[in-house]
């Protein structure tokens, strides 16, 4: 008897680590640097396999990214890893000056974003990184939604020829895409398509599994929704977002990030100037996190199917008024 087996949850950082081995084998110019976090950021396999192409900068994030800039200047494709609170958090100016203005192909990997560093508390929970990185010219910003997407994202990132910020999470999360699903940086992936949607749900990162849960519950209540996986926050897939806004007439964005400056901001910047319709933003409301399990923190901040459904109902009311 054939039985569909649900795939085991896996983290986006693990997907990144696997993809990194693949690009390491394919491209000898790819080098990896970390700031004393080789296991946590899943680069220790690369370090073992390619010891001559791996560098540990110590707990020194500023020199981590500036050394990487120098390597890219010579012709290498450096991948730098740390927790996102530290990279880009502690070295934003160096990223701006020595990587972004130079337009060097440095892949900046910020792990443990959102509430995925839950127990560590507010100091280790990156909720502002999309906002800072997406305002820097030349920078591409990508949040993979699952293990497979993270694997594909690093493979494509090293081939782009410019700086990329890759936003990862620590914890194992549901597999939403398939190993062979199409993925292209800058191109929205429609996870749920319906004929006459009443709302478009646009989300980034592993929270998409919760968005899909919300969408199926909404459907049971007679509210049809599109679910768009906006893994690339910059450059934004403007065409797909405007199209979704036109057919749905209402949009809700979802991200584990401050409401200020994240995906919700990017989408409202676009729609307010091109196709103004009611938009609701589900995110963190100008608050820091605290110690707790990721699920508990997501719940506390309304980043659950219930929170999404509540926002959808609110936006649909605005649309119909």
């Amino acid at each position: 008897m054939k039985r569909k087996v649900m795939e085991e949850n896996k983290s986006t950082r693990e997907g990144f680590g696997e993809g990194l081995i693949e690009v390491g084998e394919k491209n000898p110019d790819v080098v990896v640097l970390t700031a004393d976090l080789r296991d946590s950021t899943k680069v220790s396999k690369f370090a073992k396999k390619f010891p001559n192409r791996f560098f540990d900068a110590g707990v020194a994030e500023q020199s981590l990214v500036t050394i990487a800039s120098g390597m890219a200047n010579y012709g290498k494709i450096p991948v730098v890893t740390s927790f996102a609170v530290f990279v880009p958090g502690r070295c934003l100016e160096q990223i701006r000056t020595t990587i972004a203005i130079n337009n060097f192909p440095v892949i900046i990997v910020g792990s443990h974003t959102g509430f995925s560093a839950g127990l560590d508390g507010a100091t280790h929970q990156a909720l502002e990184d999309i906002a800072t990185m997406r305002t820097i010219p030349n920078m591409t910003v990508v949040t993979p939604c699952d293990f497979y997407e993270a694997k594909k994202a690093i493979v494509e990132a090293v081939s782009l020829g410019g700086p990329v910020y890759l936003r990862l999470e620590r914890d194992a999360t549901p597999i939403i895409t398939k190993e062979d699903s199409k993925f292209k940086i800058g191109k929205i992936d429609t996870l749920k398509d319906v004929k006459d949607p009443q709302v478009a749900l646009i989300a980034t990162g592993p929270i998409l599994s919760e968005v899909l849960t919300a969408a199926s519950r909404l459907e049971k209540n007679g509210i049809s929704s599109l679910v768009l996986n906006c893994h690339t926050i910059k450059p934004l897939d403007t065409q797909a977002i405007i199209h979704a806004a036109k057919i749905a007439g209402a949009v809700v964005t979802i991200e584990v990030h401050q409401k200020a400056g994240g995906l919700g901001s990017a989408v409202t910047e676009l729609l307010s100037q091109n196709f103004p319709i009611p938009v609701g933003i589900v995110g963190v409301r100008d608050l820091f996190g605290e110690s707790g399990k990721p699920d508990e923190l997501l719940k506390k901040h309304g980043l659950t199917a219930e929170g999404i459904i509540k926002k959808v109902k609110e936006v649909i009311t605005r649309k119909n008024n």
Binding site: V31, F55, A60, Q62, I67, G70, A72, N73, Y74
Partner: protein, 281 residues
């Protein structure tokens, strides 16, 4: 590249100083103190020490200079122009809209500029990155970096100092512009750095201390750094800020202030008199 004798270097440095004054005065903005101070090291690098080719600025095996203290770029721009990277008439465009001569250097705007710099403390780490990458590929070129002393306040710089020692980067030579001033005043008042030589020694570097206006010493120190296979070399160059213009020498107030047209006239007169004192070629 045409290499100059010590006497030729002196003449060249004088011409670069005259251009520095003209450029900064023309736009009424810039950093004369640091620019005039670093001229002799800059000229020695481009006209004697470095293996480079102005006709092929992107030649893979060229020696590289990372100017960490980007605010002193007028000296680098003038030296690059005189070396043949671009026509000297462009120098008058410093800091003007649409000009390749940005207020702080930007890679890609001008041939010979190896990186974007100006925000202090991050040049040495970039030089470390190039040196590491070069070693990975068995490339034989050398990497030079110029830092100001003021940027030694920055943690980023010391992080790079440690990394250069960890990887024993003998292909890297650092010139420290020890002019003892920064924007807010003397370095030892703003944030004491002494004993700087001992600090570098403690961090595992080979250290030399020289007079940053003496070409023989600059060249000898570079040769010694090249011969040192154990690790990176720091050349602490004692430099007089504003060198060559009597009323600017040693005065921190000339860090970031352009001379008035009258002051510029006086400065140029002093430099032209100096040029005349060298006699005919």
């Amino acid at each position: 590249m045409k290499y100059l004798s010590t006497q030729g270097l002196k003449r060249e440095a004088n011409k670069v100083r005259q251009d520095v004054i003209k450029m900064i005065t023309s736009v009424g903005s810039g950093h004369p103190g640091g620019s005039l101070g670093i001229v002799d090291v800059m000229v020695a690098l481009y006209f004697r020490i470095m293996n480079h080719n102005p006709d092929k600025p992107n030649w893979k095996d060229r020696d590289r200079l990372i100017l960490s203290s980007g605010h002193t770029c007028p000296a680098q721009y003038a030296a690059l122009a005189h070396a043949g990277y671009f026509v000297s008439t462009k120098l008058s465009k410093l800091r003007k809209l649409g000009s390749p001569l940005q207020g702080h250097p930007e890679k890609g705007k001008l041939p010979g500029i190896e990186t974007t710099s100006g925000p202090l403390g991050c040049g040495l780490a970039q030089a470390v990155g190039i040196a590491l990458a070069a070693r990975m590929d068995d490339a034989r070129f050398r990497i030079f970096c110029i830092t100001s002393d003021g940027e030694h306040d920055s943690g980023n710089h010391w992080e790079a100092v440690m990394a250069a020692n960890k990887y024993k980067l003998s292909n890297l030579t650092l010139f420290v512009d020890r002019n003892r001033i920064q924007i807010d005043g003397p370095t030892e008042e703003v944030m004491p750095l002494d004993p700087l030589v001992e600090k570098y020694k403690a961090f595992g570097w080979h250290v030399l201390e020289i007079d940053g206006h003496n070409f023989e010493e600059i060249i000898k120190a570079s040769d010694e750094a090249r011969a040192c296979y154990q690790g990176p070399t720091a050349i602490i160059a004692k430099i007089v800020p504003g060198k060559g213009v009597s009323f600017m020498e040693g005065d921190f107030r000339w860090h970031g202030k352009a001379p008035s047209p009258e002051e510029a006239k006086q400065a140029l007169k002093e430099l032209v008199d100096e040029e005349k004192s060298y006699g005919r070629k």
